[in-house]
């Protein structure tokens, strides 16, 4: 295998070549070939990431020196490598998916769309590998602007503007944080910042943390800065949204981990608690709005918010454990966070592809107007089902493993001593458990209302299966969903390479103990221990690696929890096979009769007589009415008092964040503008007065300093 440098150069060259191809190639090949350049480049990117893992070594390269700023450097440590792999896993299928769809964007010239798409891939790569503040910020900004260009369209500019404006505020905060760091360490290079950061005063540490958390929260969709996200994700064209949702969201999390985990690990629990609480609150609010959402894409956007919340909560828990010296627990929490991040990229990319395919074939994103799509789009349905099962944390799929790890990590809070921190963990645990429950409701509803039952609109009943490239990319991701779900014992040791530098402890030891890994004989003492716990593993042989994920406890109770998702899967397959076999054996010769569903004997069950997505979510609406605060407007039109012609009911739900953050901000801005407008009275002597006043103020400040 070629060296990391070669691979990286290859990747970036392919991306650049793609951009060139977009403009140079004949029009008929335009969207397909550049996208394939993107796909091939991403494949190389995947190898780059994997290669950086084996053996774990930090790749470092100086690019060029900019006078006054220093030498721009890139480096790939295991953290960067992990994110490169995640990005590549999302980007490869996303490129295949995008190949057929780049024509259907707002850009009249598909070559521009293709170029932007590849530009996004380049900026993503550089964000991850940049090890210099200047390079990082340049890449970060170009990523933001490309996303803005991709999602804003002529007829709906609001989501784009909203994203850009709040995104710029975030970038400002990030810049300020880096400037603070470099002012105190004297360098813009990550490596020097990292060595100098430990000696910073607590005030600066806190300021950096808060600025960074605020700044990255914006892209990551954490409350209260996520109001741009549902609108922006919904407005994004189907070609781009899998990549945006699957890869760019991760950049925010990368930023947070890079700063709080690697550059500046704060040695007390405060930041971790903030992340834990904000994360779990984000998760709960995200899934709540996802559960009641009718627009399939908006639903997925809310669900992205939820998943970002889960990841941040796990990271927060990890930070707390780390600060309190519980290194093993911290490793578990970080493993949970990274695992979930990886999973989320996989299933969210998959689901957005499914949503895009469905929107393409039915012309609607409204779940209320879908139904029965499984008949018309069986493969899309299957893959969306796998994505939905994964995201709803159903075994044997991947979401189950990472959410289970997250909850298990939170349970480790029993080891902590401070009651206040324990309380925060309990609150977060409750929030995340509720989130997990709602997530099941949400995705049962999304799948059932979209794909099962009867078609509730003509466009849904006329839907056709989507194209092969899209199916292929979804199939690949679906396979990943299953693989990540049943082979966590192979994934965790890999993640461990990223985690160990962050925590200084091994997650593998905590989760996948060493004795599972060697083939051959087990230590006698362990087998005895294991038998005492009631576990049956055979006398002297463990059936190999990749078997169990185990939480090791203390000496009294050596195994807190152990399970094998792989065996679970095998058992499931065996049980299914047995059932099928038994049914065949005993009832195979019997006459089988297929009857339509029992409908109470109505002459004809019509699609309008079946549950809609809105109706399905109504109980959730009712239960969480105090959060959702719907304004119900009802109007009844009647003839002569009693003959009713129509009952109109409209529920107006302003999103909690909009209601509590955006709208007050908005009205405050208006108020300030009105006040300022009063000062602009157009009289020259008033303005002279302002100038004088300002001068006095500045002089006063200067004299005090």
């Amino acid at each position: 295998m070629p060296g990391i440098e070669t691979l990286l150069i290859g990747t970036l060259s392919l991306y650049t070549a793609g951009i060139a191809a977009a403009f140079l190639l004949p029009k008929e090949k335009t969207p397909v070939l550049p996208a394939l350049f993107g796909g091939t480049g991403s494949l190389l990117l995947l190898f780059t990431g994997i290669k950086s893992f084996l053996p774990p070594e930090t790749f470092h390269a100086a690019l060029w020196t900019v006078p006054g700023i220093g030498t721009l450097t890139v480096s790939i440590d295991t953290l960067s490598a992990f994110f490169l792999v995640v990005t590549a896993i999302a980007a490869i299928p996303a490129s295949v998916f995008a190949a057929t769809r780049l024509k259907q964007t707002r850009w009249q010239h598909p070559e521009v769309a293709a170029a932007l798409y590849l530009g996004l891939l380049i900026s993503l790569t550089i964000v991850i590998i940049a090890s210099h503040v200047f390079l990082f910020l340049i890449a970060w900004e170009s990523m933001s602007i490309i996303i803005y260009l991709l999602i804003s369209s002529d007829n709906n500019e609001r989501p784009g503007y909203l994203m850009l404006s709040i995104g710029e505020a975030g970038t400002l905060a990030i810049t300020a944080a880096f400037l603070l760091l470099s002012a105190n360490t004297g360098s813009l290079s990550f490596a020097i910042i990292k060595t100098g950061a430990a000696s910073l005063g607590p005030g600066v540490q806190w300021a950096v943390f808060l600025l960074v958390f605020f700044g990255f929260s914006v892209k990551g969709g954490l409350i209260p800065l996520n109001f741009w996200m549902p609108g922006a994700y919904t407005a994004a064209p189907a070609a781009f949204i899998p990549l945006i949702a699957g890869a760019t969201l991760n950049m925010a999390l990368y930023g947070i981990i890079r700063v709080t985990g690697s550059l500046l690990p704060i040695p007390h629990a405060g930041p971790g608690i903030i992340m834990l609480i904000v994360g779990s609150a984000t998760a709960l609010i995200g899934i709540l709005y996802a559960t009641i959402e009718d627009d399939f894409k908006t639903l997925l956007a809310h669900s992205s918010i939820e998943n970002a919340g889960i990841i941040i909560a796990a990271l927060g828990a990890g930070s707390v454990f780390l600060a309190k010296g519980h290194l093993a627990a911290a490793s578990i929490a970080f493993a949970a966070a990274l695992y979930h991040l990886l999973n989320h990229s996989v299933f969210k990319t998959l689901l957005f592809m499914g949503a895009g395919a469905v929107e393409d074939k039915t012309g609607t994103r409204s779940l209320d107007r879908m139904g029965g799509l499984l008949k018309h789009m069986p493969w899309t349905g299957l893959f969306v089902l796998i994505g939905a099962l994964s995201i709803a944390a159903m075994p044997p799929f991947n979401g189950f493993v990472s959410e289970w790890l997250t909850l298990q990590a939170l349970l480790r809070s029993v080891e902590l001593s401070s009651p206040g921190i324990k309380l925060a963990f309990v609150a977060a645990g409750v929030g995340l458990t509720l989130t997990a429950g709602l997530a099941v409701t949400c995705f049962v509803r999304a799948f059932a209302m979209g794909f099962l039952g009867m078609s509730r609109s003509d466009s849904a009943s006329a839907a056709k299966e989507t194209g092969k490239p899209a199916l292929l990319s979804m199939a690949g991701l679906a396979v990943f969903c299953l693989a990540l779900g049943i082979l966590p014992t192979y994934v965790i040791p890999a993640l461990n390479k990223t985690i160990r530098p962050l925590t200084g402890a091994s997650a593998t030891t905590a989760l996948v103990p060493g004795f599972f890994r060697p083939q051959g004989k087990l230590p006698e003492a362990f087998v005895n221990d294991f038998h005492k716990l009631g576990a049956q593993i055979g006398k002297n042989s463990m059936p190999g690696r990749g078997l169990a994920v185990l939480h090791r406890g203390g000496t009294k109770n050596p195994v807190v929890f152990a399970m094998s998702t792989f065996y679970m899967f095998i058992t499931l397959i065996i049980l299914l096979g047995l059932t099928a076999g038994l049914v065949r054996l005993f009832a195979g010769r019997r006459r089988k009769i297929r009857q339509p569903r029992w409908d109470g004997g109505v002459r004809k069950l019509l699609p309008e007589m079946t549950y809609t997505a809105t109706g399905f979510a109504h109980p959730v609406r009712v239960i969480f009415e105090s959060i959702l605060r719907p304004k119900v407007v009802e109007r009844k039109d009647t003839i002569a008092e009693h003959f009713r012609v129509t009952i109109r009911q409209k529920r107006n739900e302003i999103h909690l964040i909009d209601r509590m953050v955006l709208n007050p901000l908005d009205s405050a801005a208006h108020r300030i503008a009105r006040t300022l407008a009063k000062m602009h009275n157009g009289r020259i002597n008033t303005y002279a007065g302002y100038a004088l006043l300002a001068l006095i103020v500045f002089l006063a400040i200067a004299s005090i300093i």
Binding site: I593, W598, G601, R603
Partner: protein, 249 residues
């Protein structure tokens, strides 16, 4: 809540012992006309009073077709020659002996009731099977809301035109083996409504009936007897002339 428990306990057991013991409490059944002999052939007054043709003449004997009797009492009231009535309720008749439930399954049968134009009396009597007095659960009969789980389709009413489709759909929705029980004179032959533009002449028009329970309405005990017969919990000893049978475990 505890007061309800006490109330329930204080009420004691009111449930009938039928079919182990005879049930002869007054008011549990209207009974049926008896078969009479010795009526002069020219005296056709009694049978002419019968509005449904349940009484038929065979020389000097008056036979009863119990499935047609609607308990109008016109043969026993307001006439010179009233014919006596006989108590009893064991009127059910199995039309398809193969439909009797095999021994292994006879103590748990689920019933889907379909109202195919019933007047409310038959349905009320069916409802009363759950009454503490009759309590059909003790014999293993349960009313189920979905035909998907039903062993017996219990149909009352003359099958009104609009109910044909729902009735057929309910029948089709049942798992095999399907058993159909027609309850009440209307379900057996259309009763006072008869075949016409919106009513049929009974369930047999559109479904294969396995057991018939005459009566207008058949009292709960008669339906219970029918259920026990189709479940194979009783032996069928037809005695159509008097319309009575002995219960036997």
């Amino acid at each position: 809540m505890s007061r309800w428990v006490i109330k329930g306990i204080r009420t004691g057991i009111v449930t009938t012992r039928y079919p182990e013991k005879k049930e002869e409490t007054p008011g549990t059944s209207p009974g049926l006309p008896e078969q009479v002999t010795g009526i002069a052939p020219e005296n056709r007054e009694t049978e002419s009073r019968c509005p449904t043709g349940a009484l038929s003449r065979e020389k000097n004997r008056l036979n009863l077709r119990q499935e047609r009797c609607i308990h109008c009492f016109r043969c026993s009231r307001g006439t010179e020659n009233p014919i006596p009535w006989k108590n009893g309720f064991e009127w059910a008749e199995i039309r398809n002996p193969e439909a009797v439930v095999p021994a292994s399954l006879r103590h748990s049968l689920h019933i889907r009731v379909v109202d195919a134009g019933d007047c409310g009396a038959c349905l009320n009597e069916i409802k009363l099977l759950n009454n503490p007095y009759y309590n059909m659960h003790r014999l293993g009969f349960f009313i189920t809301p979905t035909p998907r789980q039903a062993d017996i389709l219990l149909v009352a009413g003359p099958v009104a035109e609009h109910m044909k489709t729902p009735l057929l759909k309910a029948y089709e929705a049942m798992p095999a083996p399907k058993r159909v029980m027609a309850v009440g004179a209307c379900a057996l032959n259309g009763g006072v409504f008869g075949p016409g533009f919106v009513t049929g002449s009974g369930v047999a028009d559109i479904l294969p009936v396995d057991i018939e329970i005459p009566g207008c309405p058949p009292p709960p005990l008669a339906i219970l007897h029918g259920l026990c017969l189709i479940a194979g919990q009783l032996k069928n000893e037809p005695n159509a002339a008097t319309g009575t049978r002995k219960g036997e475990k």
